[in-house]
């Protein structure tokens, strides 16, 4: 339907304004103090945090969403948003684990498939970069050995000429 960059812009780059996150936080704290906090409130606050552009918010969101995920009945949704949150933190293997669990529950869920596609793309990219770094290091190493050989050769040559 859409290519990866468009998908990423829509799914990942869909940040919500700071004011909305602050409003959600206020509501959450108020209910918490009143002792009337429901799973719905927790979910809503965690969702706002995960949709933030700031990593600290996202981490806080993961911790609340993660707690819900353990004893809530709507695991599919929690897992999806956890996958999204880990993706935003560039923790792709965690993201992959979560999204795989969603796909295990609903193999044909197109939203989960789209997110999985993005996660797989990033993992592949990371692998390529890692391979590139190793390859690059090997090249640098080879060059260093070569340089040493040249210097060594020059010293030997000097010694001989003396």
């Amino acid at each position: 339907m859409a290519d990866n960059s468009e998908l990423e812009k829509a799914i990942i780059g869909d940040f919500i304004p700071l004011a909305m996150i602050q409003a959600a936080e206020k509501e959450y704290k108020k209910k918490n103090e009143e002792g009337s906090l429901t799973d719905q409130d927790r979910f809503s606050y965690a969702w706002h945090l995960i949709k933030s552009r700031y990593k600290d918010d996202i981490k806080k969101g993961i911790s609340i969403m993660g707690e819900l995920c353990q004893d809530g009945t709507d695991q599919r949704d929690y897992l999806y948003f956890l996958a999204l949150a880990y993706y935003k933190l560039e923790e792709y293997s965690e993201a992959e684990q979560c999204i795989n669990r969603v796909l295990h529950m609903e193999p044909n869920n197109s939203q989960a498939k789209d997110l999985k596609k993005l996660v797989s793309g990033k993992i592949q990219q990371d692998n390529l970069i890692a391979a590139g770094v190793v390859g690059g290091a090997a090249l640098v190493g080879a060059a260093a050995v070569g340089t040493l050989a040249v210097i060594g050769g020059a010293i030997v040559a000097k010694l001989i000429s003396k």
Binding site: A2, L7, A10, M20, W47, D77, E106, S110, Q111, A112
Partner: protein
């Protein structure tokens, strides 16, 4: 589908709202993929779809946000109304309760979008006429009283699906032509694509707002 990044002149943002199970995602899927999804899972939060359509010789990219109908997502999906140029409000003609909830959806749509947002009421599942629980006439009356466009459609057969998306775009485009939409304002749900990068040589800017809009500024 797309041959270049800017082979369209405008982007219109839509949202699809309505109760759980009325067929919002199926309508979107029918429109973007021309296929009916038989057992479509409940949407998680929001789902995104796009398609380029042509209205009055202009290529327009529709960016469609399909919202989850489950009550627990209601607070969450409200943030997507902002900056929608079109709102498709869907009920199921075979389930009266989904029709009865329209006033609540309409309140959200009116409060959270801007005054020029085009709201289209859709009575989905028109293929199930035998199980009808809401008459065409009463829904039409409701639509007229509230100034909404209205059609019954079927995501299953595809009947009228194309029309609701295109008619909404026509109305938005008409609003632009009439000068009711300020293309430089935020939150109108309408973006003018830049003509740079040579994508659409034949684009004819409408009005005098041609190229101030520098593209990248996302409305969603």
């Amino acid at each position: 589908m797309a041959s270049g990044p800017y082979n369209y002149s405008y982007i219109f943002k839509y949202i699809i709202i309505g109760d759980m199970g009325v067929g919002k995602s199926c309508l979107l899927h029918q429109f973007t993929e021309k296929k009916f999804m038989a057992d479509c899972p409940h949407t998680i939060g929001v789902e995104f779809g796009t398609r380029i359509v042509e209205v009055s010789g202009q290529k327009i990219k529709l960016q469609i946000w399909d919202t989850a109908g489950q009550e627990r997502f209601r607070a969450v999906t409200r943030s997507y109304y902002r900056g929608a140029a079109g709102a498709l409000m869907v009920y199921d003609i075979t389930r009266r309760s989904t029709y009865n909830h329209l006033s609540s959806w309409l309140t959200d749509a009116r409060n959270l979008t801007n005054p020029n947002t085009v709201i289209f009421l859709i009575g989905n599942k028109s293929d199930l006429d035998g199980q009808r629980d809401v008459t065409y006439e009463e829904a039409k009356t409701f639509a007229d009283e509230n100034g909404l466009l209205f059609l019954e459609a079927s995501a299953k057969t595809g009947d009228n699906v194309e029309d609701v998306f295109i008619e909404t775009a026509k109305k938005i485009y008409q609003n632009i032509q009439d000068g009711n939409v300020d293309l430089n304002a935020a939150d109108t749900g309408v973006q003018l694509k830049p003509s740079a990068s040579g994508g659409s040589g034949d684009r004819k800017p409408t009005g005098n707002q041609s190229s101030q809009q520098s593209g990248g500024k996302g409305c969603c």
